[in-house]
Amino acid sequence: MGLDSEQLIQDLAEAEREREQLVQELRHALRGSERRFEAIVGSLTDAVTIRDREHRFLYANSAAIAHLGFDSWEQLRDTPPAQIMKDYLVWGEDGGVISMDDIPSVRILRGEQAEPLLIRTVHQETGAERWNLLKAAPLLDEDGEVEATITIIEEVTERKRAELRDAFLAQASAALASSLDYEQTLRNVAQLAVPDIADWCAVDLLDEDGDRRTVAVAHVDPQRLSLAEALRGYVPEQLDPERGIGRVLHTGEAVFYAEIPDEMLVVAAIDERHLELLRAVGFHSALIVPMRLGERILGAMTLVGAESGRALDRFDLELSEQVAARAAVAIENSRLYSARSSIARTLQQSLLPEQLPEITGYELASIYLPGVETSMVGGDFYDVWAVRDSWLIVIGDVTGKGIDAAALTALVRHTVRTASEFDASPSRLLEFVDATLKKRPVLSVCTAMCVRLQGDRATLAVGGHPLPLHVSSEGVRELGEHGPLLGAFADACWREHEVHLKPGATLLAYTDGITDAQGQGDVRFGLGRLREAVAELADRPAAEMVDGLARRLAEFQTGAHSDDTAAIALRRAVAGTAGADRAQAHEVTRAGTASAMSATA
């Protein structure tokens, strides 16, 4: 475009003359408010326009002419107001479409009160987005009739965008910190970005093998999401490391396309259909930022300005980089957490004996059903080992969180085993564990039930744990008495109870995961159902009893059980069975318990 400077100067001079004349006329017409007018025009750098009753421009200061996208006053003056509106898409603050009738000056001409109006405009051609605050006031003639309206257009784009960005950053950060389910969280964040920040927002993650997976695609209009679905069919197996998301995931650097001309789509398109889809999205500008921690690239976040025509700018780029950085931290935390939580789970399970020892004259069987993963791990444990002339069986439940619970379980098991070398009395063992737990700097509590088995005599003590059941053909009864939880209360002590196990009688110890199991309508399994179940299984071998119990529990339960569940059954062998034959040899094999112990220790 050539520039004829002489012509330009002449034009300017003429415009100036014309404007002077108009202002003179206005001053004349608005004698009463001359001073006010003078003050407004003099002091404001904002765009100021004055329109007549037919809504034609009578005056526009130079800021207004530039703001409305005109080169000269004449151009503006000769363009019908509706034509000017046509170049813009206009929304209110709430996202609703604004028409000419909503404009304050037009409302004043209709005789209405007009509050200041905040509008968002996007130029149809350039995609430039602006936020404007329109304030209008009537100019009255001598009879008090509205003769003209004066409008001040205050551009608040930067302020409004900063506000939206702050809001988005705050909401996204809160969302990212709120949950450990990071895929859901990323979907929420993508949703928050539209339409305030962009028309489209997508999040892609890289897994350990370097494969890309799209976890979120958001658009304010759900119907348009099918476009994204269709486009995904065109994603190549191997991303181009030189371009687009491939480049971001490869280099860890953001890419920013301030404008996406059609030629770019043509180059990117794989075939005609692909090009159609790309054009249908209406790409206007796009940015892709990496989600990375140091050198590790976890994924990328893509923002697209499309059909709204909005052009993303460097502020949007900065903002997305901040959100992506926070997302990366959230992803990492969540991955670490699940790793840690499964370590805790594994550790907890590894604390259970791999195989129960054989106790001469007895059958021994157990079940352990780990609870679903939650931040709380109810660590059930049990252990069976031999000490001198007796066998010891311990079952307990540590309530705590993750690795701490597993560590506590390990401590309890170790403590009770070590203590049993000195004193194998169940009440003394509970006292010992209680004292050990109380020495811990943080509240450490656990339930435990301890049985010492010598021949057919079982001595037991119970600390905050459900009482074990004595199951025989004669019926089911609870054994022992409740004693305090371990590690919890001052001046605690435990009493021992003794029972003689007849052949065929079973001692069943369990954790509250069984009685607390939830069925239909939040009904709990409870002691009643447990008693019924084991009564029916009374004459079964120990292994069948615990399996049968587990089956009944599974039938009763709705959904996954949230707490650990464990049970251990000790059944005195019936005469004539293999177990009973060994029972005869009980006294003789006692010497062998030392080796059994070292094997299980």
């Binding site: 609870g371 109810g378 309530t399 339930t447 905050g464 939880l485 607390d516 707490d563």
Partner: protein
């Protein structure tokens, strides 16, 4: 008021005393809600009353929370009062563990 299908926690300030009334089930999945509610509303050394009379179930994680609160109240020197549940199914875990006598339970709701 915090409301989830299985637990309702309502808050009432009586003079210098904060009272939280808990109805429903206090177990491994609802304990975090009560924990969060206490965290948000209770400030040491304000006396705190937990009215559990409407509680229909409590498991060991609920008990653990009560013990933790009891420990904390001792350490920070504020008064904790617990109103027992009207339901045996909620008191069972307290009875089994000896918490019914060891924790600061009142006989009935303070008037």
């Amino acid at each position: 008021m915090v409301r989830q299908a299985r637990i309702t926690i309502s808050e009432e300030v009586r003079g210098a005393n904060l009272q939280l009334s808990i109805d429903g089930e206090l177990d491994i999945s609802t304990v975090p809600l009560l924990e969060a509610q206490i965290e948000a509303t209770h400030e040491s050394p304000t006396p705190l009353t937990l009215d559990l009379s409407g509680l229909t179930f409590m498991d060991s994680s609920g008990l653990r929370l009560l013990i933790e609160l009891s420990e904390r109240s001792r350490r920070e020197a504020w008064q904790l009062s617990l109103v027992p549940s009207r339901h045996e199914s909620a008191n069972l875990v307290l009875r089994i563990t000896g918490a019914d006598t060891a924790l600061p339970f009142t006989e009935r709701a303070p008037e």
